[in-house]
């Protein structure tokens, strides 16, 4: 069953340099218990999309399209109604655990925040639930009493507190915006596992935003590749990763350093995508990736690429997809 459906989402912000279209024509849907990954470089609009779903964009941004949470259009809700959705039905985990907790409040108070706001509970009940949540995210209450302040915890521990805070009301949807980017690799693993476990245990759908393809591969069932505010390719994670159709997805893949192969064998330089991310202030015509694309033709620079389907929901917006020939159900 579809939990969240985003239809034709456009987000633009007026600046002194003119209007910037940060997100253009984004469609996505997340089923109950589903996991969706959003990948892309910095500034590709993945976090903005998430903030758009939460209605937490800067006040002067212009949003159009539809964001349906079980038939309810979130964009039509006012701030007060939206406050009842946030933290209650949709939770969001942020990138920087060092700054995402209020430095002058104890962790206990902060974890209790959503419970306090959305559920009518007695004080004692809240405390026992908070303690329970702390155990769930792996923070033993004896070692980590609720009256600790954020600065007394490490980054990983703070991210656990953040997770406890956001799953407190067992939301239907959990958005994790680069939850492990600021953490070191060993902790990263544990946090990802924790998020996935909790999502499964509580039946929460998960949107995992990351620039790390490894994180996406590990945690999500479906994936969406974004570039310059547009979707480049989307589909089942396995399909997209093993059968990538868009040259941009390919470019992302070949720029991952490989650890398996021997160094003598791969004495080559690490590949990178030439050029740089387009300036969104300029009017982008055609495919935004065209200037950096090794397969680009004149058509790419003039027209918006059509969606090409490869079956099983795997779609790429490209005139010259990489798997066109291989696929026998092209344009299906």
């Amino acid at each position: 069953m579809t939990l969240l459906q985003v239809k034709n989402l456009n987000i633009a912000i007026d600046t002194p340099d003119g209007r910037i279209e940060i997100v253009k024509q984004v469609n996505l849907s997340v089923d109950k218990n589903d996991t969706l990954g959003i990948v892309g470089e910095s500034g590709c609009g993945k976090s903005i999309t998430a903030l758009g779903i939460m209605s937490l964009l800067p006040t002067h941004s212009m949003v159009s399209g539809k964001i349906l949470l079980e038939e309810q259009d979130l964009l039509a809700l006012d701030e007060e109604q939206m406050c009842r959705i946030r933290g209650n039905r949709i939770g969001m985990i942020f990138q920087e655990p060092m700054t995402a907790l209020n430095p002058v409040q104890t962790i206990g108070v902060q974890v209790a925040e959503a419970l306090d706001l959305h559920k009518q509970l007695q004080k004692a009940e809240i405390t026992s639930r908070v303690e329970n949540l702390m155990e769930k995210v792996g923070l033993n209450v004896r070692r980590f009493p609720l009256n600790l302040y954020p600065h007394q915890l490490s980054g990983g521990q703070r991210q656990r507190v953040m997770i406890a805070m956001m799953i407190a009301c067992r939301p239907d949807l959990l958005i994790a915006d680069e939850p492990t980017t600021a953490l070191d690799v060993t902790v990263q693993e544990q946090i990802l596992e924790l998020i996935n476990d909790l999502a499964q245990k509580y039946g929460m759908a998960l949107i995992m935003i990351s620039h790390d393809l490894g994180v996406i591969a590990q945690t999500t069932k479906n994936v969406m590749v974004m570039y310059a505010g547009r979707i480049m390719e989307q589909g089942n994670t396995v399909d997209v990763f093993y059968n990538m159709a868009h040259p941009y997805t390919y470019g992302l893949f070949v720029s991952i350093p490989k650890t398996g192969s021997s160094r003598l064998e791969t004495k080559k330089r690490l590949k990178s995508i030439p050029g740089h991310v387009p300036d969104l202030r300029e009017n982008i015509k055609g495919c935004p990736f065209a200037p950096r694309c090794f397969r680009a033709q004149d058509t790419c620079r003039l027209q918006d690429p059509p969606p090409i389907a490869f079956g099983n929901g795997h779609t790429a917006w490209c005139f010259y997809p990489l798997v066109e020939k291989k696929s026998n159900h092209a344009a299906g």
Binding site: T99, E113, M165, M166
Partner: protein
């Protein structure tokens, strides 16, 4: 909270202006409090035959032209200054901080409206405006407190707004909003505690300015009225005797200067102590 207090004291001990300013301010407050329990002489007692006496054991700093004990008047003046400055700051914080918080939270035209109104009040020199207000409302201690208080409002509104805006950009505010908290509760529960130290520092500075303003108004005869004592009024009365009894002007003048200096030093020190980034490495 107690831990935090102890921590502030511990860091403060290494800060010279915090210690000196704190001591001066402390003495000032103790003297002001002392007035409730004891003054060497009642200041209402006019005793013309003992006028303009030299300092003695009975009259520690001598007497003025009405034969009143100068030392007692200074003590009562300290009390008067404390009360006026406290209430004025109370008005400033009570109205200014909420305004600043609202402006920072709402942005847009509400912010514009509040801040432009602020600019408007800022455009008038505060003492002159205070004179204008007391001239309209009539002289008196209460009216002078109101006048000084009104001019504390934009100061606190501006400081609160600026500090709050920087807090609103923090990720933990986004996290609190993600938890479903409305702007009002975020302002009170998340923003206010984080700008508290800035407000306290501003309050000590405004306290000193409040004392100065009160002295200024009383000097002009618009503030505290006789028989109550005020340092500003003492200065005013001393003016006539400046040639043959300069001590009458020197004592209240020194009291004002020393207190304001002490409070400003204390505020400076406190700012350094509260803000770890400014804390000097020793």
């Amino acid at each position: 909270m107690l831990d935090r207090f102890r921590e502030i004291l511990r860091h403060g001990m290494g800060n010279r202006s915090f210690v000196i300013g704190g001591l001066i301010s402390l003495v000032f407050f103790i003297i002001a409090l002392l007035s409730y329990a004891w003054t060497p002489h009642a200041i209402e007692n006019i005793d013309i035959k003992n006028k303009l006496l030299e300092p003695s054991w009975t009259y520690l700093l001598g007497t003025d032209h009405f034969g009143r004990d100068i030392f007692s008047m200074l003590i009562m003046g300290a009390r008067n200054s404390v009360i006026v400055a406290f209430v004025a700051i109370g008005i400033g914080i009570g109205a200014g901080v909420p305004l600043g918080l609202i402006a920072a939270a709402e942005k847009g035209w509400i912010d514009e409206l509040i801040m432009r109104f602020n600019d408007f009040t800022f455009a008038f020199p505060s003492l002159i405006s205070a004179i204008m207000i007391t001239a309209i409302l009539g002289p008196g201690a209460v009216n002078s407190v109101i006048a000084i208080g009104i001019f504390n409002i934009p100061v606190f509104a501006r400081v609160a707004r600026g500090a709050a805006l920087s807090i609103w950009k923090k990720e933990f505010i986004l996290a609190a909003r993600s938890a479903g908290k409305e702007k009002f509760r975020i302002s009170v529960e998340h923003v206010l505690p984080n700008i508290f130290s800035i407000l306290i520092v501003q309050a000590t500075i405004q306290f000193a300015l409040g004392i100065l303003a009160e002295a200024g108004l009383s000097y002009l005869g618009l503030g505290t009225q006789p028989p109550a004592a005020s340092w500003g009024k003492m200065l005013n009365e001393a003016q006539t005797f400046l040639h043959f009894a300069p001590q009458l002007a020197i004592y209240p003048g020194l009291a004002i200067a020393l207190t304001v200096l002490g409070l400003n030093l204390f505020g400076d020190g406190l700012r350094d102590v509260l803000d770890p980034k400014l804390r000097r490495i020793r």
